[in-house]
Structures are given as structure tokens and as C-alpha cells.
Symmetry: C2
Subunit: 391 residues, 2 copies
Amino acid sequence: MKKHLFHLPDGVIYLDGNSLGPLPIAAAARLDQARDEWADLLITGWNKAGWMAQPQRLGNRIARLIGAADNSVIVGDTLSIKVFQALAAGLNMRPGRQVVLSDNGNFPTDLYMAEGLLRTMGRDLSLKVVDPEDVADHLDDSIAVMMLTEVDYRTGRKHDMAALTRLAHENGAVAMWDLAHSAGALPVDLAACNAELAVGCTYKYLNGGPGAPAFIYVRPDLADSVDPALAGWLGHQAPFAFDLDYRPAEAIGRMRVGTPPVLQMATLEAALDIWDDVSIHDVRARSITLSERFISEVETRCPNLTLASPRNPDERGSQVSFTHPEGYAIMQALIARGVIGDFRAPDAIRFGFTPLYLDEADIVKAAEILEQIMTESLWDNPTYRVRAAVT
Amino acid sequence: MKKHLFHLPDGVIYLDGNSLGPLPIAAAARLDQARDEWADLLITGWNKAGWMAQPQRLGNRIARLIGAADNSVIVGDTLSIKVFQALAAGLNMRPGRQVVLSDNGNFPTDLYMAEGLLRTMGRDLSLKVVDPEDVADHLDDSIAVMMLTEVDYRTGRKHDMAALTRLAHENGAVAMWDLAHSAGALPVDLAACNAELAVGCTYKYLNGGPGAPAFIYVRPDLADSVDPALAGWLGHQAPFAFDLDYRPAEAIGRMRVGTPPVLQMATLEAALDIWDDVSIHDVRARSITLSERFISEVETRCPNLTLASPRNPDERGSQVSFTHPEGYAIMQALIARGVIGDFRAPDAIRFGFTPLYLDEADIVKAAEILEQIMTESLWDNPTYRVRAAVT
């Protein structure tokens, strides 16, 4: 759909945009521009180049992609930090309740950050982690916050955000969604589903670059009453008054914390431009076409691989995983042949479908290479078994 | 000392390196390199380009500048986040004590983050904020953590880190230092002073770029027992095992949180290279020469300006402030004439001395321009009174 807007190395079929999106060509120029602003404007860049307004400006760009109102999303920090911040806000909305409900398909850092927050809060709080399909059964009046990731990072399994949010609300719980594998991958309608809180990251389907900042959403009617646990100066009503006491900024502004990473924000901004003339509904339709084709090709060509993702595309995000006991070595063999996906312990090889820069020819070619690796046991090579630090 | 290594715009005398350091020429090339790594290596950059090791590698570079042992400093997040993380760790070291002691010369975000943390922790904790000169008098056995910034952001007034840390320890309190205006400005000897915790930022004297990440130090003998409040996945012992439970990494590694901002880290790394053949003691000596000269020139030339910084250079960091009721307009007039300092409410004009790229000719020239502004009332111009969002 927009392949010409991305830098894609020759000979590479990139099926890992669900982990790190490729470089948008315009992001390179925007990065040069930000560097020159730093060089030439120095400290005055905060005003003159609009750096200080980046978090809000980019938040509004992302809002449009996730069905959120203007001025309800702000960009900054890492996703882990935003999870902490959102969950703390959610717990404060239900002071009489003690339980955070999540599932074991959530990305681990969400669970770790929750554990750390609950330890820090000290009162009698607990984290209940159930199987993804059992979340609905555990929603009752003990639950303060239902904290879920919409799309499972391992298998692409997708929760029904609207239904679970409704159920959470019927039980008096706050709904908090991690959209890491949703934003830019499929239509999200936060306003319609009425969830109180959401977070997400921008280096996957949004192509913001390695370590690009995260985002946080607070439902507009609640934003002015959220008490920020991470009460940073740039979330203050008047940061440059240098008051000794914290007075939170209006609305989502209070979820800002510290100084924004200007260079990362600049590349992200260029990456978000691409979405201006793309319909997320079209992206979703193309993603389903690509993933269905891939599953069909792989199942025909590679009978030893087991589909680990839901077969129904409506129940998946924009990625597909297969399992095999030698998954790690298979993925290394694929990467050596230019097909970049990734591996998730213990045995899953994972492929992301990003229609902005992938077409069906790529998908078929990738399946062909995978077939060759499997039929000729090309993965059976000691060098492919050496685990890298990051897998 | 190293002026040729920086990009400094023509006609500018930059006296605001204490707020945002200028672009190191090598950082521009390193940024291009990081962009190309992203473009060509895509997800494999995390291993192949060493991105995943950036926080530790850069931490070790900074450690040498602040008298810290190898593997005791790690880079990431913003300074606000690192304050929260360090203070939470400090409070957990003294579970029986209830008071955080700070001073009203601390940078506001430190106080705000402390307030937010104490509210989050909920138990009967309080933040006591006293005048900087009264800190010693308030150290008693109620104090859990003494949380101070070594150098006052407004005036440059410098605490005696060794003496106050000793006193904190005599009273059984944990000592936590914010080195935002110290790192790269003056010799810091964390190991000698034995402070438990320190944090700092890298976009001031270390020239890491706008929004460059912060750092945190934990005294090595304590690092393995710190319970991270911000328990992010990259602080896990085995992040890519994707365990459901958090097991903190060894030593300072557990103070990592989320995905590092690779582009910002790259420029910071190039900026840190400059320190490899510079002695921080020489930098300090030159900084004192420059600031003494500036004070003397300004006091001679501009009798209406009042020195707001300690007169004794041993009691100052690497910046000098003067007050004047029209401080804001005076600073705008200076900036319009190429002398970039900054303004801190209510009435201080602030000048940073950064010997890496400033010499005495710059200082004298800046004083001359200031003299002209004051004697000819050049500040008395309505355009200089329009306050920008960031001042």
C-alpha cells in the first residue's frame, strides 16, 4: 500500500514489523531536521522548533488511529512506565477494591510493572493472572482493574475488547487495555468501548523507530480527576513556574512526566504522517488477506509446523505463529535467508503482517523459503542453535 | 578545550549548556549510523548493533565521571522516572522510617515525583522540605532518605555532598543525590562519599541531546538487594524467557525498565566519547576561571544586577545567576544579540560555564553585550516581555 515510503533492505522480506517497524524514508529526513534544530537553535528549540509540544501533538495523531478524542492521548516514556502510570490511575478510581485481573497472555512487562506497583502501594492488593479465555469468568465485584493486552504477543489471539470492557463495567471494574499489538494493526475504537485507560507503543506497527516512546489514553471525562502517581514536572499545570507543590495539568497533560526524547519523537512524527492517507480498515482487510494466504501456504508446504494462532482471522491481530520443537533454529535459518520474523520461547516462530509495506508476493516467497528450510532440514545447523541475547 | 568538537552556530555565545548542551559533531555522524542500523539491520539491530547493551555500556562511561564503580550506573528513562525509582529504593532500605528530607532548592520535579511516590505508597510517609542551609539541622532518626540535588538549578549553590552524606549516615538515613547539574560539571566521587543512591541527566553538561536519557546509580553492595518499584521487563534476569513472574536482574541491571531509546542513546554515546581525554578536574578549574571572570566583568559593568550565586567558587557548581526585576526581558534582549543564557522565575538570569566549548574571550564578549543592554536599557522593549511557553 505504501511500500515506496519505507526503506527495506534488498533481499529481505520483513515479517517482524510487529516487533520493530522499518525506517520510513521521511523519518530519516525528519531526524536530520531535528538534529539541525538542536545544532542551530540549541535551547531555544524547545519553543522555536515546537519540541515542547511534541507529546501532545503526536498524541493527537495516535488518537485518531485508536478511536480516541482529541487531547485524550499523550506520548512519552516507555510502555512499561505507561502501564505503571495507567494502572496506578485505575486503582485510584476504585479505592475500595483490591484485585487487578490480568491474563497469562499479557506481555510480561505489564505483569511485572503491576507486581512492582502493588508492592509499592503496600496495601492489601493482589494481581490475579488467569488464562485468557477465563478472564470473563473472573470478573466480579472484587476486581478494581481489568488489565489486558488486546492482542497476544505470542499467538496474535485477540480479546473482544468491547465485550470484555462491557463486562468489566457491569462488575464495577475499570478497563485498561494495552494496545501494543493493536495500534496501527487493526481498528480500535476506544470511545465506543468506553474503556477508562489504554496504553501502547509506537515502534511496532506505527514504525516510530527503536525505542520510540509509548502513549497513554485516559477517558476524557476522567482525565481531570486522575491523580498521577508519576507526578513529573512536565505534567504540572505550570512547569516553568517552578512551584514547590505539584498541581496537575488539565486533562491528559498530567500524564506527561519528564523531558521528551526529541529525536525519537521526530522520527515518530514522520512515521505517523504515513497514516494520514491510509484507512486502518483497509490495512486490516489487507492484513487478513496476507495472513490467511500465509497460513494456507505454510500449512500446505510445511506439515510439521503447527499453527499456534487462532484460525479465525477475526480472533487474531496482525501476526501468526507456528510452533515446532526446533523453532529457534528454524527462525535463524529463515533470517539467514532474508526472511525476518522472530522467535518467542519456548517454541514459537512468529510472523507479522504489515500491509503498509508487504504484499502477497512477499508472503508467498517467505512461505517458499520456509518450505525449503523444512523439507531440506536446513535449520539443522549448529550455528542456528546459538542463542543470541535478544531472541 | 574541545571547542572544535562541537557545532556552535555563528554569532552565538552559548551560556546555556547547563540546560541543553550543544551538538557534538561526532554525534551527528553517530546518529546517522544508528539510523542506518535501523534501516539495514531492522530488528536484528538489538543484537548486531549492540543496542540492547547501550544502557549498561553508557552507564559505565558515566560511572567514570562521577566516581562510581563499573557496573553501578545504568542509563534510561527520564530523570523524573529515575528519581521515583531511586527514592522508592531508598525508602525500602528504611522501612521503619517515615520522612523524606529535601530542600526547596531541589529541582521541582524531584519534589513532585517524591510527592507522587509517597501518595502511591500510602503509608504514613511525609516529605519535609526545608531551606538548603537547614538540611543538616533536620537530619535525625526520623529521616528515611535525604534526597538532595547537589547543585541548585537556580543559583548554582552547591551542597557539601561528602559532609551531608556523612551526617545522613550518622543519623541512619539513606543519602540520595541528584547530579543533574554535577555530572560533567565538577568532580563527583560517589564511591568516596558512600551515598547509597544517585541519579542524573545527560542533556546538560554531558551534551547528550534534547531528551537524552537519564542515569541511576546504586551503591554496589546494595544493588543486589534493591527491590525495584518499576519492575520492567528489561530489568528482569532473563527478559527473553518471558516468565510470568519478575525476578530482578543482578546488580544495577534491575534498574532498567523498558526498551531503550536507541537514537538518543547513540548521540549520547558519541557525546560521552569527548570525555575520554578530558580530566574533569581540568574542566572544573577552567569553569571556575570562567565564572570568576564573568562575575567580575558583570559586577564592574552592570551595577544594577545582583549576584544570586555564592561568591565563593567552591560553593558553586558551574553556573552563575544574577537577579533583576526585569530579568526576563534582559535575557530576551541577550538572546536576541546572540548570548544565550536562560531565565528562572521570578527574577534570575542564569549563565552556565562549560569549558569544553567556551573560552575567556566568549565570557568577556558576553559581559560586554550584557553591559550594553543594561546601560542603554535595550531590554526595555515590549517584544522582550512576551513570555514563551518554555522560559
